[in-house]
């Protein structure tokens, strides 16, 4: 592991006073590779990911990215930092009434002035890049299709392409496969894996499917009750560890 892409120190988050969701999370994300975060529902996986780009405001702690503490950034600084962090969502979060191409170009909105975006005057370089990404994610020929006419798997491909359009230095994925069937889930994870390994983009991904996490992640973080209880390779995830993460044991039989 070389220099870390993201370094989280003593991160706390409480939505209501006195009810912490994240308790003193400290975590280094390496410059490459896929880090999967697993854990039971409500344990703060999603909150952790959303604290990184401050879609959720952290209560305390430090998040260092590209030499800056994201927690301390003002509005403008945060916006500029967010341009370098791509995000993929469980519900895809596409703009349904826009075309596939325009959804991809939405990934460039941080770099294009609002007026030019309104007039759909995107730089040619962005358009070229979008077309080539469409080929990469297997949606060639669908550029002018409206997003609401696509299937779940296709939508998530658009979501991934949109995030990659940002040329991110880090990719966050919040349960990217939880709304998809098992076969499509594997395809989507394979796509994320190949694109991000090819472009050396480190990935931080939430999953609730342990097998899928084992299959694609280089490193697995197990969370329980707002703290990290496991941090290591997929091979180390034995029954004892899973019991510690999820509690109980009847489900393991």
């Amino acid at each position: 592991m070389t220099a870390s892409a993201l370094s989280i120190r003593n991160l706390d988050k409480e939505y209501a006073r006195g009810k912490p969701v994240l308790r003193g999370i400290s975590l280094e994300i390496g410059a490459t590779g896929i880090t999967a975060i697993i854990g039971p529902s409500g344990t703060g996986k999603s909150t952790l990911i959303r604290c990184v780009n401050r879609l959720v405001e952290p209560t305390a702690g430090e998040i260092r990215f590209q030499g800056e503490d994201l927690v301390k950034l003002d509005r403008k600084g945060l916006r500029l930092a967010r341009r370098q962090i791509g995000m993929v969502f469980q519900e895809y979060n596409l703009v349904e009434r826009l075309s596939v191409m325009e959804n991809l170009l939405c990934g460039r909105l941080g770099y294009v002035s609002p007026w030019k975006a309104w007039l759909r005057k995107y730089p040619q370089a962005d358009i070229d890049r979008a077309f080539s990404l469409l080929d990469t994610v297997g949606l060639a020929g669908l550029a002018n299709q409206r997003a609401d006419s696509l299937s779940g798997g296709q939508r998530q491909r658009v979501g991934i392409a949109r995030a990659i359009m940002q040329e991110p230095k880090l990719l966050l994925a919040d349960e990217p496969t939880s709304s998809l069937d098992p076969k499509t889930s594997v395809e989507i994870m394979a796509l994320i894996s190949s694109i991000c390994r090819g472009n050396s983009i480190p990935v931080m991904v939430n999953m609730h499917d342990v097998e899928l996490a084992k299959r694609f992640a280089d490193r697995i973080i197990g969370m329980s009750g707002g703290t990290i209880v496991y941090d290591g390779g997929p091979a180390g995830l034995d029954e004892g560890v899973l019991k510690e993460i999820y509690g109980g044991e009847g489900w393991l039989q």
């Binding site: 780009n53 500029l80 962090i85 826009l98 325009e102 941080g110």
Partner: protein, 262 residues
């Protein structure tokens, strides 16, 4: 053994009964308050016949000289008023929508503006503007515009609030500036309701501006007022018929456009 089942509990049943009783009481109270004079009621059919007879035949010959220009004025008042209203209502709607402007005091202030616009009838707005700008189409246009702000602003504001937060979140996460989030996250979502609201309001405004002339705010209402004052019932019929035709045409037009936009 059979188990008893009732959709509503005793308290709910009592509440429902009291609503029925209240409705009946309200009808009785209102009937008393309007003080129907039986003599007027008895000869109403006769009066109605007399009126219709005076209205027939419709004075079509009156149209070119006395109605046409006023009718075009009315359309101008309605269209320009609607455009002005939309221009003023959109910023207020953005301030009123809680998800777009996350500040409660600002939301309430914007809502207060919208409510005050709606609480004044367009005839009253027209009276105000006639007093300020003198009689004519300008007063009518402003009356239409100010009455419409509340309607257009409220409905667009609600459409904004009902929008899906997901795309907005995605664009924010991509580092898009606020105006771009507005243009690419919110606007595509509210676009169909925006056009539906604007066209519907234009349709209402065509009808409303027909009445504004009664208080001197220009348009076909002036022609109606003159004819009424001179007891020229055949001309009154002509004006009413013209308004009817315009409303029908507006309805057809609006339906067609709406079908194409959404």
């Amino acid at each position: 053994m059979s188990r008893a089942w009732r959709r509503f509990g005793p308290a709910q049943r009592a509440a429902r009964w009291s609503v029925y009783v209240f409705i009946v009481a309200a009808i009785v109270a209102s009937a008393r308050a309007v003080e129907i004079v039986p003599e007027f009621l008895y000869d109403a059919p006769e009066q109605m016949q007399d009126l219709l007879r005076r209205m027939w035949p419709i004075a079509f010959h009156h149209y070119p000289a006395g109605v046409h220009d006023a009718l075009v004025d009315t359309l101008h008042i309605a269209s320009l008023g609607t455009i002005l209203a939309v221009a003023m209502a959109v910023p207020v709607a953005l301030l009123a929508a809680r998800n777009v402007t996350p500040s409660r005091p600002v939301n309430y202030l914007a809502r207060l503006l919208l409510v005050s616009s709606r609480s004044v009838n367009s005839l009253v707005w027209a009276l105000l503007f006639v007093a300020v700008f003198g009689p004519g189409a300008l007063a009518g246009t402003l009356a239409i515009a100010f009455r419409s702000i509340g309607f257009v602003g409220k409905l667009i504001g609600e459409a904004l609030e009902e929008g899906n937060a997901g795309p907005v979140e995605a664009l924010t996460a991509a580092g898009a500036p606020w105006l771009s989030v507005l243009a690419k996250g919110y606007w595509p979502q509210v676009e169909p309701s925006f056009w539906a609201v604007v066209l519907f309001r234009w349709d209402i405004n065509v009808r409303e501006s027909a009445v504004l002339g009664l208080v001197g705010a220009g348009g076909i209402g002036m022609a109606l007022d003159t004819a009424l004052n001179l007891f020229q019932w055949d001309r009154v019929a002509m004006v009413l018929f013209a308004i009817f035709c315009v409303v029908v045409v507006a309805e057809v037009l609006v339906t067609q456009i709406r079908k194409r936009v959404i």
